[in-house]
């Protein structure tokens, strides 16, 4: 991290060519973060470019709604980029951003769980009229183009199997086998004991194999 950055303070009063943000593509996340903290807009863009797909994919598979996943991804990046000052470079930047993204997804799923209660009307409604008035209206059943896209993207056997996992199993399996994080990193991201992470991943794999076998039978 140090050598790349210290070069900016010499080279005849300008940033050396190899140290310019245009050359951020091959730099480590830590270096890019350091550039961003110094006020280089290109470094912020580089962080978004590196993580937009992984973060969006995790969120999309967690909430299974493109629009919502995009809102959560945007929220995640804004929180991360506006909070770079609190980032601890001892840990991988990816662990930090996935932690914030995963928390956003879990909060959303909890909220949605509460929302599903309102399908039959508010639990606080005291009369049948109030129940009807607060019940969630199920609209036209025809699929919108966005729903069709979601069905195409998330309709495969493995995607449907992942969707059947409990959210905490889903986070673990995606972080381990799609994003390639170590068990220790996942424990840090999810703030869970290492043993719990291992248990979740093993159970999730068993469940996935079971769901995929069911499909074949």
């Amino acid at each position: 991290m140090g050598t790349r950055l210290t070069a900016t303070s010499n080279a005849g009063g300008a940033i050396g060519a190899k140290d310019r943000p245009g050359h951020l593509t091959g730099a480590s996340d830590q270096d890019v973060v350091e550039w961003a903290k110094r006020g280089h807009e290109a470094a912020f863009r580089e962080l978004v470019r590196r993580y937009e797909r992984p973060v969006f994919s995790l969120l999309y598979r967690m909430v299974r709604d493109r629009g919502l996943a995009e809102d959560l991804a945007q929220e995640t990046f804004i929180k991360v980029l506006n909070g770079l000052g609190s980032y601890n470079p001892q840990f991988r930047f990816s662990s930090w951003i996935f932690k914030i993204a995963n928390n956003a997804a879990i909060d959303q799923l909890r909220k949605r769980e509460l929302d599903t209660l309102s399908l039959d009307g508010s639990p606080h409604a005291t009369t049948p009229e109030a129940m009807r008035a607060t019940a969630l209206q199920l609209g036209d059943k025809r699929e919108t183009p966005l729903q069709e896209l979601e069905a195409r993207e998330l309709g495969g056997a493995i995607e449907r199997a992942i969707a059947r996992l409990r959210p905490e199993y889903r986070s673990c399996i995606l972080l381990r086998h799609v994003e390639g994080h170590s068990y220790e990193e996942i424990a840090r991201i999810l703030e869970l004991p290492l043993g719990t992470v291992k248990t979740y991943i093993h159970r999730a794999r068993n469940e996935l194999r079971g769901y995929l076998a069911d499909r074949k039978e």
Binding site: S9, A14, R38, G39, F44, E52, R53, A69, V178, R209
Partner: protein
């Protein structure tokens, strides 16, 4: 004296090591002679491959701009920063 064959079945951690080509030789020997472990390991490896090949979805076009519109860029620091060199 011939060594006693290792009859312990592979643990889930060992199956993962095997799929990554990192299983110690002694345990590999057990796998070679245990049909149950081979069946489990084969199924796991297929699952790992399926998961590793999942699509990386992209957000809608213009995502970076939408994020950048809400990011506060700190005041550039350092004596030689050039304000327009980034864009």
């Amino acid at each position: 004296m011939t060594p006693t064959p290792d009859t312990r079945h592979l643990t889930p951690d060992e199956v993962e090591l095997w799929a990554e080509g990192l299983l110690p030789a002694a345990r590999d020997a057990h796998l070679a002679q245990c049909d149950a472990c081979r069946a489990t390991a084969g199924g796991e490896r297929k699952l790992f491959r399926d998961l590793a090949q999942l699509t990386r979805f992209a957000p809608e076009f213009g995502f970076v701009e939408r994020v950048m519109a809400k990011v506060k860029i700190p005041t550039p620091s350092g004596p030689h920063f050039r304000s327009h060199s980034d864009s």
